[in-house]
Amino acid sequence: MKAPTIDYLAFAPILATLGGSLLVIAFALARASFVQRVVLPGLALVSIAVAAAFAVITWETGDQTTIIEGALAVDALALGFSLLVYAAGIGAIALSLRSEIARDAGRGEYYALLLASITGMTILVAAENLVTLFVGFELLSIPLYVMCAAAVRDERSLESGLKYLIVGSVGSATLLYGLAMIYGATGSTDFAGISAAIGTGVDATDPLLLSGIALAITGLAFKASVAPFHQWTPDVYEGAPTPVTAFMAVATKIAAFGVILRLFDDALLSTQLQWGPALAALCWVTIIVGNVGAIGQSSLKRMLAWSGVAQAGYLLAGIVVGTRLGAEAVFFYLAVYLLMNIAAFAVVIARERVSEHGDGLRSLERLGEASPWLAWPMTIAMLGLAGFPLTAGFFGKFQLINATVSGSYESLAIAIVIGSMISLAYYLRVIAVMWMSPREIEIPAAPGRASRKVRPAEGWSPEAGAAAQPEVTAVAVLCAVLVLAIGIFPDPLFDVARDVGSSLAGFL
């Protein structure tokens, strides 16, 4: 029996967020207002910053080291996706600072759970072994179930938490069943071992292996909200506290697609001919269902949830093709998706704290005149999500279409284009509500849903507007500026995406 050798420098990013989570829990016992309001979020931010710093230090292009006896891979793919998760985490903390939810649920528990979930995501994207994959998957999910129910006095938040728990558990069980079958067929839990077994010991059309792959993608599709496993998404996103929704919408998707990329485009790449057409069908369904579902929504959170489903369909197209170009496109698109969605959610949060319409579309009426510092980021985010040129969303879609066409899945390129055209219907409506007279805009009525009463944020007055919540406005503006900057100078992000793509060894 010999002890595993652990490369602590490579393991440091994961230890940093995990240690941060424990420290936050320990400090939460101090009741002092200063500790609760400043020290806890500060500690959480510092631990994420430390983790990000370690991730940047250990970043070495094209170099893959497996640590802890092959349980985790530290390469550009893991570190790149981890950095995106850290960015989402920092955004979520900034958006939660002034939120009543963190106070009601207990700030210590709230930030500790957030950090634990981030740790799970970084383990998931670095997983090089089926067991580590599942551990990361659960560590990601369980804190999120609790955080969805963090608004303990709001029935809809509790409903959302319970719904997510039940649907998520079904997803986990399905995934675990699939992983067990993949192990049964290939005789290895290691990704490298699985990839080596297929084609030598096991036939690529082995029924046990293919059943396992089907169950595994079903389980992961629940997390990534790929249709037809997306039904929980609008309800959970709407009920959960909005900062949690913002985190969940981007970070979970980043982690889920990170692990799908590694599992399907690395370990299972040699069976691509078998799973490719099946995933392509899912991709089509997701793009159509997500975009059509978003059209009728009057709640911004529900609309963004359906739009998230549609975006998951676009991202899946990059996985299906199984090429390096596809992997690069997935990373690039996730990075810009992160910025666009955080910007949009920041504006929703700023508005729902002061508007009598809550997160309804009407809360944005005439926002262009009232507070342009919120209206412009929302406009840029919506244009970006729709894929307009000069925003990062354009290059994201361009990359994906480029990857699908050169991977000879032209039909998926057509799906992306059709989906983007449908999506204009609901993205442009948001912009119209903000900048045009409300009488000209038809807003679908929400059947049987009373408008939500939200207490104004501290120190807010109609005149103060955006200035009363500087951190929320700052997040929105920063993300929107980055969306524009990447839309004009995409090269730095292209380079990072190329590094990430190059860490998957299986591509030709």
Partner: protein
Amino acid sequence: MLQAYLPVLVFVALGVAIASLFASVNRLLGPRRPNKVKQEPYECGLPSDVTKSFRFGLSFYMIAMLFILFDIEVVFLYPVAVQLEAFGVFALVETAVFVALLMLGFVFVWRRGALEWK
């Protein structure tokens, strides 16, 4: 080609058959001599006639959860203690880390009042 998936069909059929067998055989074969105590869902524990105003104390869940946590701690500690010589210092350190983490959680729930019987 699709014949290879026959085991899946057999598996599903067997699953349904066994589950419905266990669910129905008792009802079909068992003698029925009901009385009041037997009719209750559980024959021991709290009275099970739950009315609308009945509230089950949260403290029960807290204690039960903590019990399971420490139960599992012992399950982990025992094999390590028995085989410590074979595992060496690494196992000892790992166990110490595990217990320290558990202690942190224990101190947390204690200080937050989860052990006060309300």
